[in-house]
């Protein structure tokens, strides 16, 4: 079993954890920026900037992972699908609350973008961590 453990880790692991952490950090920063202005008008430029930076980090994590050799893709997709389902439900409920509370227009647009990225990034992080420790 120890030999199998060594076999799993003899390829260089892609550095995705840092990128997924950066994505979450940027989304959380955007959320704090917006929440700090509630219930007044929220200036959207910083929020759009943080969302764009988060999207770039998320895209970079896929790009880095796509080039990884010997990665357990089958396990990755299995975990990613189920985690995505869970986080899509969670993000959907939060989105419903925003709409229910009367958030509209560009504010809703940037919040929806952040929620979508949150719902994609956390499953990626979970699936990556599980697959990194597994063999297909």
């Amino acid at each position: 079993m120890a030999a199998l453990g060594a076999e799993r880790r003899d390829y260089p692991a892609p550095r995705c954890t840092e990128l997924t952490l950066a994505t979450i950090a940027l989304i959380v920063a955007g959320g704090i920026n917006m929440a700090s202005h509630i219930p007044h008008r929220v200036p959207l430029a910083p929020a759009w900037g943080l969302l764009a930076a988060a999207a770039l980090c998320y895209a970079a994590s896929w790009a880095v992972l796509a080039r990884a050799e010997g990665f357990a893709w089958r396990r990755f997709w299995t975990v990613f699908r189920w985690a995505l389902l869970a986080y899509a439900v969670s993000a959907g409920m939060i989105e419903y609350v925003f709409i229910y509370d009367g958030v509209r227009g560009a504010t809703l647009g940037v919040l929806s973008g952040m929620l979508a990225l949150f719902a994609l990034d956390v499953p990626f992080s979970i699936a990556y961590t599980v697959a990194r420790c597994a063999a297909d």
Partner: protein, 178 residues
């Protein structure tokens, strides 16, 4: 996953929904104080007491402890966090803390940052490690090296979580006495 614990989680979350829907000041305060107190205490206890003890145990003992500890934590912590934050937000609305012009607003902002840092650690590091440990434990012969590597994240992040929880205690006691 401890399936027996699920009805308790459902009951607790159901009570939270009822507290928010009825906007009961006592129920919201109860959920926020009880949830927050337990969250802080468990985080500090795990980080400062359980973590160092685990670090000194031989690997097979660590694996045996993790196998029993992690599934329970995967139910307890999300429930406590949901209780605390859901009731806390509604309580802040109730008390007028959300208004930017309010004297307490900067303390509230500080609490957003503290919760934000804890969310980054929890969602980006701890939850993936927790689930990966559960996957490893489901195997016929779990690899202790993999579990140990993943569990190290809990020890590394204990300091950050501890500082954030102490900051939470300062902010919340200040807010309650302004």
């Amino acid at each position: 996953m401890p399936v027996k614990g699920l009805p308790i989680v459902v009951a607790v979350i159901g009570g939270l929904v009822a507290a928010i829907a009825t906007n009961s000041y006592w129920a919201l305060d109860f959920y926020h104080v009880v949830g927050g107190g337990l969250w802080t205490a468990i985080d500090l206890f795990v980080g400062l007491v359980i973590g160092p003890i685990m670090g000194s145990l031989p690997p097979p003992a660590r694996v045996a402890f993790s196998a029993r500890f992690m599934p329970k934590m995967s139910l307890i912590m999300p429930t406590l966090v949901t209780m605390t934050l859901g009731a806390g937000w509604q309580l802040a609305r109730h008390l007028g803390f959300l208004y930017v012009s309010g004297s307490t607003h900067h303390w509230l902002l500080a609490s957003y940052v503290v919760v934000g840092v804890m969310a980054i650690v929890a969602l980006g590091l701890l939850e993936p490690a927790n689930i990966a440990v559960l996957f490893e434990l489901r195997k016929e012969r779990p690899d202790p090296a993999v579990i140990e590597r993943l569990m190290r994240r809990f020890i590394y992040t204990a300091g950050i979580t501890g500082v954030m929880q102490i900051a939470t205690l300062v902010i919340m006691t200040r807010l309650a006495t302004i």
